[in-house]
Subunit: 204 residues, 2 copies
């Protein structure tokens, strides 16, 4: 395995994704550079990327739709992989919705190719020489999908402001992937997709 | 591939699972024989069981936490696999929580072996000569997990009554798996796990 990623900022350009390696204890802040931009976060165990952050197992562990500060995100083997450390945004994040993919854009009427968080994930992992047999459900930071009393979901524009950041700490050595969501047919990213950044702390 | 399952009733004993093959258009009713029992439902495309019913893609398709009658459950490729036809129960079902598995019971303090919906799924598929590389998030029929205004989840006893049934129609040829949830350490199944039944209609 390659060495752990160096500390510092990685800009994730609009409609693209980047992956970084984190050692247990390292922190990563996802920063919404211009505001109003959704990020799809994926995390995989460094020792076996078949083990992945699982939304369904995280909900079962925390008994919440989304963890609060201090709570874990766990893998499909129920091991903590990330801890939610802090959040300077208004706190609207989603852990219900699948990553956008070519099938999603086809159903929205796109006839040619369109970037997607699913393809972005595959490409970012491939750049590390990694692959996974399926796309796990992401943690959609800054994605504003309120749940109504009747269980109805609304797709609203992200309310994160320029510079807002949500910070995670690695609970195990892991690969952390962030996709700047390319969705421009549903209004979740406001008027247009923009860039995000990952600020990685120095190793302990 | 084997022929489609014969129509009729398959009893799924407490703590066990059974799989049936459905042709597109066939219906299956999951019946809570004694009341108060959760069932974990999984569905896989007959032509390639890597394609599976996906809770996250279903929520994105229906914009609901759980479909209403007439709405589809879709696969990870966003193709309809089941349609919710009708429901005689009080309508409390869950599509947020992962299947119970050995790791879950270990965290609940079980030191020996304990049956689980994840192991039940693998065993039911193996009886058909099938296997899947991971356990998809199930559709937990009769499981009563209300979502509070703050996103907090409560684990309550199932309120389904003896004879209550939820009915699905296959939207494609598929393998339908039902596990009578063996959870007896958290109160979702009331005082004790009991049996369910699958009533499969004649092919069209």
């Amino acid at each position: 395995m390659e060495s752990i990623s160096a500390a510092g900022r990685t800009v994730v350009p609009a409609r693209e994704a980047r992956a970084v390696r984190l050692a247990a204890g390292q922190r990563v802040s996802v920063v919404d550079l211009e505001g109003g931009q959704v990020g799809d976060v994926f995390a995989f165990a460094a020792e076996d990327v078949a083990e992945h952050l699982s939304a369904a197992h995280t909900r079962a562990t925390t008994s919440r739709l989304f963890p609060v500060a201090g709570e874990p995100f766990v893998t499909d083997r129920r091991r903590p992989i990330l801890t939610l450390v802090s959040d300077t945004s208004p706190g609207r994040h989603d852990m219900l919705i699948a990553a956008c993919d070519p099938a999603r854009y086809a159903r929205l009427g796109v006839t040619g190719s369109h970037p997607s968080c699913a393809d972005n994930l595959r490409r970012a992992l491939a750049a590390m020489g990694l692959s996974v047999p399926f796309v796990p459900q992401p943690v959609n930071v800054f994605m504003h999908i309120p749940v109504g009393e009747d269980g109805r979901l609304s797709w609203l524009a992200a309310v994160s402001r320029p510079g807002d950041a949500i910070t995670f700490e690695a609970a195990m050595d892991c690969v952390f992937v962030l996709s700047s969501c390319p969705q421009d047919l549903v209004g979740i990213n406001g008027s247009r997709p923009t860039s995000l950044a990952m600020d990685v702390s120095a190793p302990n």
